[in-house]
Subunit: 275 residues, 2 copies
């Protein structure tokens, strides 16, 4: 019969752990002195404790360990449990490896610039969104505002006032023509309820998607660098662009200085198939 301290030392674990396992019923001492409350363990309990510790190292939570040891699981359940754990471990590895990649990139930046990077690239899910849209190939730099005003005019006709930010989808990169730069652009504004469109204006639902996004502060035509950064981020992190990039004009009041503008750039993405 072993006192709790001896039993703990034998297994290289803490007394608190054994007391906790007692409390949650995972491993009760063989006897408890009713006078003193001292817990006494038997050497015969070693195999059970070791099984517990081994399963814990495999990453199982204590309640699942209790189930496994109680033998209340069918062969299939056992198999499923272990296969699931395997998948979880693989997922953890992938996550940590991505983290390593990002950390390495940051370290390089810190060493070079002595500072944090300008853009933070993050992931989020964006819901589908009902919008009124106007698409055309338009000249820069005013194409954004021109297209936007077409949609605003349409909404005005229908007496709808939208204070949601404008969404631009970029179907092409900027293209040099003889008379200047052009871009294939779609301006959209969210609608509270569906309408019928017309020749110019399309009513549609922008698809929801996983997005890699970043916030840009300042004039929204100086976004080339951010696009480049996002593109290389995608390949580094095994994502692919699955739809046109979006610009969201979060703040773009004409009476503000352009340095105050805030634009969100969204890249709709999905994970690249590995293999």
């Amino acid at each position: 019969m072993l006192k709790i301290g001896e039993f703990a030392r034998l297994n290289g674990i803490s007394i608190a752990t054994l007391r906790y396992y007692d409390q949650c019923g995972l491993l009760k001492p063989l006897t408890i002195d009713p006078e003193t409350g001292y817990r006494y363990y038997s050497l015969d309990q070693l195999p059970r404790l070791n099984r517990i510790l081994a399963l814990k190292e495999l990453g199982f939570p204590l309640d699942q360990i209790a189930q496994i040891l109680a033998d209340g699981l069918s062969f299939e359940q056992l198999l499923a449990l272990f296969t699931l754990k395997q998948a979880q471990a693989q997922h953890m590895i992938a996550t940590e490896q991505a983290r390593l990649t990002h950390l390495a990139a940051r370290l390089r930046q810190i060493e070079q610039e002595g500072k944090m990077p300008k853009y933070e690239i993050l992931l989020k899910n964006v819901d589908p969104q009902l919008v009124a849209s106007y698409r055309a190939v338009v000249p820069l730099p005013h194409g954004f505002t021109l297209s936007h005003s077409r949609v605003v005019a349409y909404l005005d006709q229908h007496h709808i006032q939208s204070d949601s930010p404008a969404i631009f989808r970029l179907y092409s990169t900027t293209q040099q023509r003889s008379d200047g730069l052009y871009i294939d652009l779609e301006a959209s504004l969210p609608l509270p309820t569906t309408l019928s469109g017309n020749d110019e204006i399309t009513i549609q639902t922008l698809p929801g998607s996983l997005m890699a996004f970043a916030i840009h502060t300042g004039y929204d035509l100086a976004l080339g660098q951010l696009h480049t950064t996002l593109h290389s981020w995608l390949t580094d992190n095994h994502y692919q662009l699955i739809a046109p990039p979006r610009h969201i004009r979060l703040r773009h009041d004409p009476y503000l200085s352009p340095t105050q503008y805030i634009t969100e750039v969204q890249f709709p993405i999905s994970p690249t198939q590995t293999r």
Copy 2:
């Protein structure tokens, strides 16, 4: 000015998260309506929030993120923080990969045997231990008990009664000679205090070490399989044996049936240098 729900949706995070960041001072709303308590955020707070989220993805705890953003860290501290995180991520990957290996092994066993394996192999740290030892090449099967009784006799001479289990160090594997099997063996018993030895008995401190160990139930000469299992476990998990294996006779009373015997097998190990 954005209400908390709008600001949350904009970043794809929960309202609870924003409230929590307010509470712990990481990101306070720009203003709070004193009447209603409503929190109002500004678009200018987007970059800070994104930095927070990015650092969180890199694995930093919120209090460290606060420090980093407060810019209260020197270049060296920043570098150290990131390098440490990198090391932690690498460690995590190694741990998870070991877990995967073990899970795969278990899965194979479950599929083949439909049952949990016989032995659980675990790690623990063992402290140094002052002992009285007798070492000799002895015949099997009685060599263990013979050597053990030499040490017991020595302790009796000194009127010391040790009820700690006997420790055997196996300096060789079993060897076939013309007159039977032999083994180079050292039997030890823990001492409460140091003594002077004699021709036969050495007083020494068994070194502490990281141990891979397993518990064996039953007759303690049927341990060949466990040794083999332990050896292949070592190579699978990138450890190497750095000292003779130990057998600890946790229960070995002569009046018990050998099926009741409990022996712990310990392999002193250290991680194999990778590269």
